[in-house]
């Protein structure tokens, strides 16, 4: 038999005035298992707590029920109290007779029966309580950052700056991401590489950051504090130890191909660095273009000219296995492919380009050295039409959401256009101009008033050819009249979308993503950089459209979360987690998909019923991943899955006690 002590708090008159505590005491004394009942004016006061501790010892209590305020208020307090008396802190139950009874009912007449029910229920639950223990796991104080755009760079620098080691994995030959492709940046118009390059250099020079470019994470196992990653280092065919970055190889290489960095608007060599400020500033051979690889061993010009003897055609991929305590995912975004808009030419007009292509055409390091020339004939465009929300806010053909950054970068483009070509005219077709940010509206004003861009409110219906002339047709919805422009160049503000492989990345790393492929934060307001997998954090546009200031802020926040984790030597795990009774588990796996945290795995049990060796698959909860929601325990039809602290037995007992 259990020895339950019941403690009734007056809360001054808060409870006492609405509940006849003497009657509650009488009833409680009649309950089975209850061996001691006591009242106190202020249970949470130090003397009140002392009463409880004394009673536990004097009466040998092994379960405690406190009828007082909401457990959300003092559960922790009283757990500590009972622990102080040598009892397991989870052998405590609270009956919420204040918030759920005395405060909401006018008098003792109404309040007392409710209080009686609540106390009886708490006692019933307490009888079913079992001692629970937290467990502890060590923390590998090293972070893995995936993606080397501005988000990944910032997160890596912040974590390293707090004294921890970081491995930064970038799949391209250089870090920098999209920001490196930009010309100038709103709302201040600093040159993108001027503010990005120093950070890239800092990454390469920080002794705590190990930079792995041309690399990808193949798999991630483990849990918070103890992840294990397999990282593939793709063969670059260049020995980085020997290479001095002199550039002789790429200057001499005779083979060219359209460059990814310039979005195909310019060319690069088969051995290349993507752009002059690339980090690392050592080259990579693209085996799909290189003659040596494509034409069995021909060419080798680079090898001939490399004085350092760094060219290594035989190099193979390497696999690295490393342990990490936390992961920051910063894999960035892509632009929606406007070829899906047949009405805008299906990507077939060379002078209908994406906004990112325009960035390359404007950039001093771009394919046209910063002279804005249109792709078809190299002429300087005078009438440039910008179309907003291409693919964005389009449930029919694109994505339903607003891409958030395009209103601002188009204002930037309009200003830049005027700067580069003073006798040009920008026409911007928009539906709404969205500029919620510090100095953003002012920046938009600059585009319209100072740069004289013509903003026309209306979504363009069609871009078509009249002879060889591109014609853009829209409605000026403010006038209610159709308008058309003969355009020299059309720039489409294509939607920000998730990277094509985002779902695979999320699956590989073990967290969720939304319908659009953006990674899902644990809570939209209160946990915006956490994923629902403990220890994995998000930074930048992989989570949703973001501009640079927001990306950098989020990366800093993700870094802070990592550092907060690393500040502890051991992680305490929540004791109220799910537990499988392997005896009853049928191995059906119903519980697994329901867990929001992928905390349930399977293990093989070996048994010897009657001497025969039998193996059987059963579910197993990873207590480091489990958050204790209990969904699995309901999904389980065999009753094998239970939730500690809110067990089937406890809840069942509560229901029965209530319905007595």
């Amino acid at each position: 038999m259990k020895r339950v002590g019941v403690f009734l708090c007056w809360c001054g008159s808060n409870i006492a005035a609405h509940v006849d505590l003497d009657r509650v005491q009488e009833m409680s004394e009649d309950l089975g298992n209850v061996v001691h009942v006591q009242q106190n004016k202020y249970m949470c006061s130090e003397p009140g707590q002392e009463t409880v501790r004394k009673a536990i010892q004097r009466h040998g209590l092994d379960r405690v029920v406190i009828a007082a305020c909401s457990p959300r208020m003092h559960e922790r307090t009283f757990r500590r109290t009972v622990e102080g008396a040598g009892l397991n802190p989870y052998l405590l139950e609270i009956a919420n007779v204040r918030e759920h009874c005395s405060w909401v009912h006018p008098d003792k007449e109404t309040g007392t029966p409710v209080a009686i029910d609540l106390v009886r229920t708490a006692v019933a639950k307490a009888v079913q309580d079992v001692p629970l223990q937290s467990s502890y796991a060590g923390v590998e104080k090293r972070a893995l950052v995936i993606g080397g755009g501005i988000a990944g760079i910032q997160a890596a620098l912040d974590i390293a700056g707090s004294g921890y080691e970081v491995v930064l994995v970038e799949r391209e030959p250089t870090i920098g991401g999209r920001m490196a492709q930009l010309d100038k940046t709103f709302p201040t118009l600093d040159c993108s590489s001027c503010i990005l390059t120093p950070k890239m250099v800092e990454v390469s020079q920080d002794p705590r950051i190990r930079l792995l470019t041309y690399a990808e994470v193949e798999s991630l196992a483990g849990y918070v504090g103890n992840f294990e990653a397999r990282i593939r280092l793709k063969a670059r065919s260049v020995d980085f130890v020997k290479c001095t970055g002199c550039g002789d190889c790429w200057n001499k290489c005779p083979y060219r191909t359209p460059g990814e960095f310039d979005l195909g608007l310019g060319k690069r060599k088969a051995i290349f660095i993507p752009f002059p400020q690339a980090i690392p500033s050592k080259p990579t051979i693209d085996r799909d273009t290189c003659a040596y690889f494509q034409k069995n061993g021909k060419c080798q010009v680079c090898k001939k000219f490399c004085q350092a003897g760094a060219i290594d055609f035989e190099q193979t991929d390497e696999i690295l296995e490393e342990k990490f305590g936390a992961v920051v995912v910063a894999t960035g975004f892509d632009l929606w492919d406007h070829a899906r808009y047949g009405e805008y030419g299906a990507g077939e007009h060379p002078d209908v380009i994406s906004s990112l292509e325009l960035e390359r055409l404007l950039s001093a390091s771009g394919p046209s050295d910063g002279h804005l020339k249109r792709p078809s004939d190299g002429r300087e465009p005078k009438r440039v039409v910008f179309i907003q929300c291409v693919g964005s806010r389009d449930e029919a053909k694109g994505v339903g959401y607003c891409s958030k950054i395009c209103c601002m970068y188009t204002a930037k483009h309009a200003i830049m256009l005027k700067e580069k070509i003073p006798d040009s005219q920008a026409f911007v077709f928009y539906i709404d101009v969205r500029t919620p940010g510090k100095n953003y509206e002012e920046f938009y004003r600059r585009a319209t008033v100072e740069a004289g861009a013509q903003y026309i409110r209306g979504r363009v219906s069609r871009i078509y050819l009249r002879g060889k002339q591109l014609v853009v047709v829209g409605e000026d919805t403010l006038l209610g009249q159709k308008v058309e422009v003969e355009a020299d160049l059309v720039v489409l503000a294509s939607a920000v979308v998730s990277r094509a492989d985002a779902p695979q990345v999320a699956q590989k790393l073990g967290f969720s993503y939304d319908n659009y492929g953006f990674f899902t934060e644990a809570h939209p307001k209160l946990a915006p950089v956490e994923t629902n997998t403990a220890g994995i954090f998000l930074a930048g546009a992989c989570q949703g459209p973001k501009d640079i200031p927001e990306t950098v802020a989020q990366a800093g926040a993700a870094a802070a979360k990592v550092v907060r984790l690393f500040a502890k030597d051991k992680l305490e795990t929540e004791p109220m987690v799910a537990r499988v009774d392997p005896e009853h588990c049928a191995g059906c796996q119903w519980c697994r998909p329901i867990c929001p945290y992928q905390a349930i795995g399977m293990e093989t049990l070996t048994e010897r019923p009657g001497g025969r060796r039998v193996t059987r698959r059963v579910a197993r909860v990873n207590t480091s991943l489990c958050h204790g929601c209990g969904a699995c325990s309901v999904a389980c039809r065999s009753g094998a899955m239970n939730l500690l602290g809110f067990s089937n037995e406890q809840l069942w007992a509560e229901v029965e006690a209530l319905c007595l």
Partner: protein, 287 residues
């Protein structure tokens, strides 16, 4: 191959020329057109403007009649009929109870025998361009044609479910197979305004002129259409100074197959002038 053929009202009237070339070309491609018995007007242009249910029922009756022929889905040469038949077909497909309701109204059972197709769809799809290529006797070498699809054969895409609604290619591909050079132009799918042709001819004139001008700017020498309403409109509602001929795609196919303009009913066009490329050896070596 035999198919149920829904000619549409114009084929028995102002588009008798189209009906002719359609039958000639179908025959040449080994396609038997079996006219749907006792078909009625599909209601295009007007029924849906005034009565939703009537529009569905008029088209639905034809579908029920066609189903009785047991030849698979119905084919029609007219884009407007095509659109109405498809709308009815889809509406019926959404709920089987509608089959019985329709059957009661038209006093015939309805059965789903597949998506109604346009003649063009059938030629480029079921028959296929290789079969067309085999039949070509006199390629239309060098003829610059603007393939004009108009609106209803492609739109709305959920109804038409044929080709790309913004950048259709089927007729261009067909013309290329016939040896012609389809031009890249901007008004392939602009509406010609046929439904307003009688009531607001002056509006329609602007639409037609725009289409002809855009084709001319792209260097086209003639237009190819796949709809009697388009063809009639393009011919009848143009300003006097526009001279570009508008042919049915079946006219051009027939000429490439070696048939004469008379066989094909081209002589019945308002502008029956033939491009020099087309008139060469006209009426000569019949296959």
């Amino acid at each position: 191959m035999k198919v149920a053929y829904y000619p549409g009202c114009s084929s028995h009237g102002s588009a008798a020329d189209y009906d002719r070339s359609a039958r000639v070309v179908a025959g040449a491609l080994g396609l038997g057109l079996v006219e749907v018995p006792d078909w009625n007007c599909c209601g295009a242009s007007s029924a849906h403007a005034l009565d939703h249910q009537l529009a569905l029922d008029l088209a639905g009756r034809n579908l029920a009649l066609a189903a009785q022929l047991d030849l698979g889905g119905v084919v029609t040469p007219c884009a407007a009929c095509y659109s109405r038949l498809n709308r009815a077909h889809q509406w019926l497909g959404e709920d089987r109870r509608r089959w019985l309701d329709l059957a009661a109204r038209v006093e015939r059972p309805y059965r789903d025998v597949g998506k109604p197709r346009s003649l063009l769809e059938l030629v480029v799809g079921a028959i296929g361009l290789p079969a067309v290529a085999e039949r070509v006797r006199r390629p239309l070498q060098g003829l610059k044609v603007a393939a004009y699809y108009g609106c209803l054969m492609l739109r709305p895409p959920e109804v038409a479910r044929f080709d790309d609604p913004e950048n259709p290619r089927s007729m261009d591909d067909l013309l290329r197979t016939l040896g012609a050079n389809p031009v890249r132009w901007g008004h392939k799918t602009e509406c010609c305004g046929a439904s307003l042709s009688v009531s607001r001819p002056e509006l329609v004139r602007k639409l037609v002129d725009d289409i002809l001008d855009n084709a001319a700017a792209a260097g086209a020498e003639c237009l190819a259409t796949a709809c009697p309403m388009c063809q009639a409109n393009l011919e009848q509602r143009r300003s006097a100074d526009r001279t570009m001929p508008a042919y049915y795609f079946t006219d051009l196919a027939g000429l490439a197959f070696g048939f004469s303009p008379v066989d094909l009913g081209i002589a019945m066009h308002l502008d029956s002038s033939l491009h020099p490329l087309l008139s060469q050896g006209q009426g000569g070596d019949r296959p």
